[in-house]
């Protein structure tokens, strides 16, 4: 009976369009983070939020650079805590791409903020559990995704609304992940207009709702932005002092997401100040024609084929304008 029930549950989600994929767990993030401790500290590391996670395609980058970067971006989470963690780790000496999602980076919001402490405190049991899950469960089971957990599924049914409590929908499944956290947008967002509209309406809650109490006046908002930039300044200074090349990247947004970012976190008060104060270079999608004209089905992330285009264009800009000297030096060095 248990086997039948599980088969039916798996069949239901597969019919919904889900395919087995790896879980974006703290354990899998920690596994990638440990690569820096295990001799890969000279590699390129990607940090940021879901945009760097979904939009930067590791196979494309690998094809162009000859080396697969380490993917440490985490959805819904400012890259500042990871930036600080890498700054404090002398084993990391490589190149660093820091994704900037304005509403996360400059607010300090960290939905998965526990990931860095988890990495530092991960127990042997958790490491084994993560390995077992990756080898015995995740590649074979479609329903093993937090979006399809029992309580999550029940919670999003049409319950009566309680007066005075705003109805908030949680972010739904947006991506599919592979073994080394190589991630791309879930095809349902491209093929299912209803699901795409749902994803947009979930973002819209964020645009229409009141600001959080610590950012509900212009002065408070500015203070929060200044705090996050100052944290980045300190971390970048540490990284650059030991020769790490840091590059900020602002991936594209569109539609109402872009309008919201421009309104609440205008570039002149955030991105431009970040680059000026850290002294690190940055690539803003608005400054490069080749990073524009891409399709973002739910305003925030690129569809998979455009993410591949974006990655190729981004890598070429980086190689041409920023890490070129280093690349030449590497090419000239004896092998």
């Amino acid at each position: 009976m248990l086997v039948l029930l599980l088969a039916a549950w798996e069949g239901y989600w597969r019919a919904y369009g889900v395919t087995p994929g790896y879980y974006n767990s703290n354990g899998e993030w920690a596994q990638q983070r440990r690569r820096i401790d295990q001799g890969e500290g000279g590699k390129t590391v990607l940090i940021g939020s879901s945009r760097v996670l979904f939009d930067v395609q590791l196979p494309v980058w690998e094809k162009l650079a000859g080396e697969r970067p380490i993917q440490l971006a985490m959805e819904g989470t400012s890259s500042v805590p990871v930036l600080e963690d890498l700054a404090a780790d002398p084993k990391f000496t490589g190149h660093l791409v820091v994704g900037v999602a304005s509403d996360l980076f400059f607010s300090g919001f960290a939905y998965r903020g526990d990931v860095v402490p988890y990495y530092h405190r991960e127990t042997p049991s958790q490491r084994v559990g993560s390995w077992l899950s990756q080898h015995l469960l995740e590649p074979f089971v479609a329903f093993d995704d937090s979006d399809f957990a029992l309580a999550t599924v029940l919670k999003r049914q049409a319950w009566p609304q309680r007066p005075g409590v705003p109805e908030r929908m949680d972010v739904r499944k947006l991506s599919v992940q592979e073994a080394d956290r190589s991630t791309h947008m879930w095809s349902k967002l491209e093929t299912d207009p209803e699901y795409r509209a749902l994803a947009r309406s979930i973002w819209a809650q964020h645009f229409d709702g009141p600001p959080p109490p610590n950012m509900d006046t212009p002065e408070k908002l500015q203070k929060v932005i200044d705090t996050q930039i100052q944290r980045a300044v300190v971390a970048v200074a540490k990284l650059r002092a030991r020769g790490v090349q840091v590059l900020f990247v602002r991936p594209p947004t569109a539609g109402r997401y872009l309008e919201f970012d421009d309104k609440v976190f205008p570039r002149a008060k955030t991105w431009d100040v970040l680059l000026a104060r850290t002294g690190a270079p940055g690539i803003h999608f608005e400054d490069y024609p080749e990073l524009q004209g891409l399709e973002l089905p739910e305003w925030s992330h690129l569809k998979t084929t455009d993410a591949q285009r974006f990655t190729a264009a981004l890598y070429r800009i980086i190689a041409r304008d920023y890490w070129r000297q280093d690349r030449v030096r590497l090419a000239d060095s004896p092998r």
Binding site: M1, L5, S125, A149, W159, Q161
Partner: protein, 471 residues
């Protein structure tokens, strides 16, 4: 490792397989001992040294107690055990708490003293295994039990993984004799053990973690002021969560031991159907309350030295029992409230000696007990007194203007689950799980078992730690 993890499933499968091999009994016990150390080291390997210290000190202390001729020497061996065990517990669990309180005391006297932050990591399960090993030397000292005949049996009693980190707190007299003869679970024991493990994990993964924990967090871990409905819902959710979490652990532990052929005592007997607080403590965390009774309340005088001394012993026991749960004054208040309840009940029982409640009054008294227990959970769950007063204020209707916080789904799910738990406890009040299982048709049992296992899998628990691990 936690029971609700893939690592434990793989570990337990290996242990079961090894235990069922046709090996000599001593070899199988060594396997269990090694497995138990692996189980413990899976959290933080260096802390196994503390476990070894506790084991070795108490083994030699008990040997010394047996050989000692003079009372003074016996006393010294007993003190060695108490100081070593409580010293470790005190340092790791209460070190920072004592420093902070000393600093606050100095400040109140006008002396500025800032102790360095020690950043002490609490070894998982230290409160449980120190109590288990202490009971060994204290029983030998009080001549209630003879020391174990060999070190292997004794070390396995201390370390046996099902009870190691969160109980049930075993006495040597309950477990050591079971190691004397070869044990292997019968088919029925294996089935019942696995069913108990499923039930325990259902309580933990599905009810506590998936539906109740986040409701309590939304009120207790945020800065919002809750109204009456939110404060009550969160507190009721926590009452369900703490039961499902801890009883879930105990049930899984008992089931795991049973699969290996060992018996462990009940730790919970449907406590939310308790009528009165002495009844509650005969049903809630039974092995701790009996430990506190035998090694604290009775040595403090119990009820043998008049009323005043009895109440003093009662309060001291419950206050220390509260502090055992955590290094925070909120736990002391939790224990103090239970002490007051027990004292008040004792006064009422003395005054109304012949009173026998009718059925309606009986249920009303039971619900009153549950209500008062919920008030104590506020102090158990709140991290600060400020938060505790805020939630209590909400529960007492003092925040009429508070904005609603919890969504309808939270209200409905908590109401359904908590009502289900309380109703089940009342239905099972005079019964045991074993008696109900025996009378239920196999088909019905199989269906319930499969549904629970299905719910555990699709709940996708994240292997969160059991609440009592922090104690």
């Amino acid at each position: 490792m936690v029971f609700n993890s893939l690592t434990f499933i793989a570990f337990f499968a290996c242990v079961l397989a090894l235990h069922s091999l046709p090996l000599p009994w001593t070899t199988r016990k060594i396997n269990l001992l090694i497995a138990s150390y692996v189980f413990y080291m899976a959290w933080n390997p260096p802390f196994v040294i503390l476990l070894w210290i506790s084991t070795v000190v108490d083994w030699y202390a008990a040997q010394g107690l047996v050989k000692a001729q003079r009372q003074r020497a016996r006393h010294a061996w007993m003190l060695l055990s108490v100081v070593a065990n409580l010293g470790m517990l005190g340092y790791f669990k209460y070190g920072q708490f004592l420093l902070d309180n000393f600093s606050a005391l100095m400040a109140s006297l006008g002396v500025v003293y800032q102790p360095p932050h020690a950043d002490i990591v609490l070894p998982v399960g230290i409160s449980f295994y120190t109590f288990a090993t202490l009971s060994y030397t204290l029983d030998v000292y009080l001549r209630r039990a003879k020391p174990a005949r060999n070190f292997l049996d004794y070390a396995l009693f201390v370390t046996f993984f099902p009870h190691l980190v969160a109980g049930p707190i075993m006495r040597p007299t309950e477990l050591v004799p079971q190691f004397a003869q070869p044990r292997r679970a019968s088919a029925d024991q294996l089935r019942f053990g696995l069913a108990l493990m499923t039930l325990g994990l259902f309580n933990k993964v599905v009810l506590a973690d998936s539906f109740l924990a986040n409701v309590a967090e939304k009120i207790y871990d945020v800065d919002k002021i809750p109204g009456a409905l939110d404060a009550w819902t969160a507190t009721l959710a926590f009452s369900g969560q703490i039961f499902c979490d801890f009883a879930g652990y105990s049930t899984t532990a008992i089931g795991a031991a049973m699969c290996l052929g060992f018996a462990m005592p009940d730790n919970f007997r449907f406590p939310y159907a308790a009528v009165g607080f002495s009844d509650f403590w005969r049903r809630w965390h039974i092995t701790l309350s009996s430990w506190l009774r035998d090694y604290l309340y009775i040595p403090l005088g119990g009820n043998r030295h008049g009323e005043r001394r009895t109440y003093a012993a009662l309060m001291a026991t419950m206050l220390l029992g509260g502090l055992w749960h955590g290094a925070n004054w909120t736990f002391v208040v939790w224990g103090g409230l239970h002490g007051l309840y027990l004292a008040a009940e004792r006064v009422l029982r003395t005054r109304f000696r012949g009173y026998r409640p009718g059925p309606a009054a009986f249920v009303a008294l039971g619900l009153l007990t549950y209500l008062l227990v919920n008030l104590t959970w506020v102090f158990f769950r709140a991290k600060t007194f400020g938060k505790a007063w805020s939630v209590l204020g909400g529960m007492l209707g003092q925040h009429a203007a508070a904005k609603p916080i919890l969504a309808m789904f939270s209200l409905i799910s908590v109401a359904a689950i908590v009502a289900g738990i309380v109703a089940t406890h009342w239905l099972m009040r005079e019964r045991t799980l074993e008696s109900v299982v025996t009378r239920t048709p196999a088909v019905a049992l199989s269906v319930v078992w499969a549904l629970m296992a299905f719910a555990i899998v699709i709940a996708q628990g994240e292997g969160s730690a059991f609440i009592y691990f922090q104690f």
